[in-house]
Symmetry: C4
Subunit: 234 residues, 4 copies
Amino acid sequence: MSTKYKSLKEECYEANMELPALDLVVYTFGNVSAVDRSAGVFAIKPSGVPYDDLRWQDIVIVDLDNNVIEGNMRPSSDTKTHAYLYTEWEHIGGISHTHATYSVAWAQAQRDIPIFGTTHADHLTTDIPCAPPMSDELIAGNYEHMTGQQILDCFSDKGISYEEVEMVLLGNHGPFTWGKNAAKAVYNSKVLEELAKMAYLTLQINPAAPRLKDALIKKHYERKHGKNAYYGQE
Amino acid sequence: MSTKYKSLKEECYEANMELPALDLVVYTFGNVSAVDRSAGVFAIKPSGVPYDDLRWQDIVIVDLDNNVIEGNMRPSSDTKTHAYLYTEWEHIGGISHTHATYSVAWAQAQRDIPIFGTTHADHLTTDIPCAPPMSDELIAGNYEHMTGQQILDCFSDKGISYEEVEMVLLGNHGPFTWGKNAAKAVYNSKVLEELAKMAYLTLQINPAAPRLKDALIKKHYERKHGKNAYYGQE
Amino acid sequence: MSTKYKSLKEECYEANMELPALDLVVYTFGNVSAVDRSAGVFAIKPSGVPYDDLRWQDIVIVDLDNNVIEGNMRPSSDTKTHAYLYTEWEHIGGISHTHATYSVAWAQAQRDIPIFGTTHADHLTTDIPCAPPMSDELIAGNYEHMTGQQILDCFSDKGISYEEVEMVLLGNHGPFTWGKNAAKAVYNSKVLEELAKMAYLTLQINPAAPRLKDALIKKHYERKHGKNAYYGQE
Amino acid sequence: MSTKYKSLKEECYEANMELPALDLVVYTFGNVSAVDRSAGVFAIKPSGVPYDDLRWQDIVIVDLDNNVIEGNMRPSSDTKTHAYLYTEWEHIGGISHTHATYSVAWAQAQRDIPIFGTTHADHLTTDIPCAPPMSDELIAGNYEHMTGQQILDCFSDKGISYEEVEMVLLGNHGPFTWGKNAAKAVYNSKVLEELAKMAYLTLQINPAAPRLKDALIKKHYERKHGKNAYYGQE
């Protein structure tokens, strides 16, 4: 297969294959995309194809207006949500969507995940937002497009930034995560699932568990992401 | 082994072997069957044989009156339930029965599984029904035959159709699922177990979690199963 | 290694190795024994040896008075409990002891596991008994010997038989199971762990979940163990 | 690579690699160190390196004043906590830090883990202490150094000894464990995670579950660690 999008498709393929490897999906319950900003296109999983059968050649190339540019298969049914986020958020390179168990449970419970500890603060300094379900009017319209709008409205209402908070729960639905590339988006899906499980257990053990104190939130985030960060090798 | 039922036995064998691979059974706690409508027979797992020892040659062929047509082993003790459902429901091709943990827990709790999210709505538009336990009179009679009747009564009482709702919980017992073939029946067993776990966690996080709103139920089901479905590759 | 107990040691070794394979133990948290009634001895795991290092040659042969008959290693610290049960219960051939998670949780909660469903009734017709913790006096004495007495007292108080109920929880401690041979004892350890998890989840979903009705208890047990049993290949 | 610290680095590397093998970490969420008392240095995981990529050559050698003695990579961001504990506690040889799920949940709930059973008593005779979160003043200062102080204050306040209690939870953060060497420290991380899960389930089944009685605490600990211990092969 000769294609100028080979490396983009491969990046997308490898990130998608991480989902079952990390126990984040069964069957076809997820999709990951990777964007090429200079070409104005993104690569995304084809719809309804089991991970066991997926090959890099099956990945579909779509432009930001949702036109299929290359590929014989229909792209993920969530494609318009991906396109919307890429259009609105210029600094992201990849998006991941799963139906991972604990993340979905919080989304179905329609609750933000409270920041209870430093595992959470190592990644973001706020509760993980849960967007309220869409209005009936929007559901009846361009649903997957409006799902992107639903995420943006949530971030706007809460006054948080997509560059600082790389994950969201959609009420009644499940998680979307993103990052500088597709691999980071999938990493965030796994981190979210771990945080969702830890927070669930924390509330079972102590329903009055306090949120992490501000000084610790700041300290942990700064040591990993601040100007004088000293976590990691850079 | 020369048999005209080889492909039917193989379909049944492969579907049965998916149960341990998907973590839906331990030991011998499950059975799957596949029907051949034109021959008027179905293939089913032999009773009490561990999955590690099972070979396709061990699968038993039974007719819809529960007579063994081919096979040296005794068929599953649940055979009459399978026969009853194949007789009453002409559009199903396979049936799966497990004692998967979360599905059994809801069955033992004797509660329908509420439709809390889109993972559920992608597969069915109603709560997953839990049939009330059988009366003592029926238990004392032709038990496994009456188990089939118990399922039909439940669907009739709730006004739901076996073609739209491909799964049921038997109160105090466990799940039965079905589909166009044995593989789809097993797929539904796994989906049910995931939905059962997600719903359990949802209620732990928010005991007042609302059911999914009607507009979203309709939207998700339609995009996967409706006339203008756009999920999957055809 | 020349020994007349080779096959007994191998049976014991293989049953012990099932414990980690079935996710019932970590490190050295368990032990299985197998008895040879004609020789008046039993084979048991050596104390504190990790499963990864265990060889069949390490298994220790002990008589019913707790004397080591063959073997260079010290037998399990629970050996006297095994010896006591073999002495008192002439129809058992193997004993298994684990610290499996859900079984231990019920033991620590000091509650019998209610019979909530047919998975349970397929194996026994009563709640799974939890023996109350030992008195301080007995603990200070011959502790592991008295652990055997603790089990017998529990069965006597509840009016149940070791031949019908092949498992017990020791309050604050954990499960012991037994059976016609060591493999069956381990099978019962796994079944108990599954029942413990299902019952835990059942109560979380419905704290008022009813016990299984008597007619169903009887029906399921009879079809597997009764005079006219029709489960399995007999 | 020629280094006089090869065996120390290898001990540290192997102990670190046990963390993902025992399901105690995902990604880079943990670190283990091993000390060489005669050389006055310890070996520790480099910061932010995924376990899949880690080689023994990457392990960093640090002295007790936190100076890097050998290694091209930055040591774990928790290095000062390790150094502090090695300096204060002369009889420990290894330290392990994870973000294991159930351990973190108790730390986030800010509760000591009650001693509910003999699995716990086989390892320590007290509740597992949870240190209260640090004051804002200390957080703003030399954070990782003060984390060591936080642990010592907790042990001092509770009147317990690091030689008898080889594990602690840091409120809002997670577990630290230690032992005579790095392998034992990791063993204690796994034991703590198991005890955390068992205690969580115990409270779910019986919120009024009693602590283990003193006579049993003493008996189980003595048989494994007392003067006349008869557990294991020593």
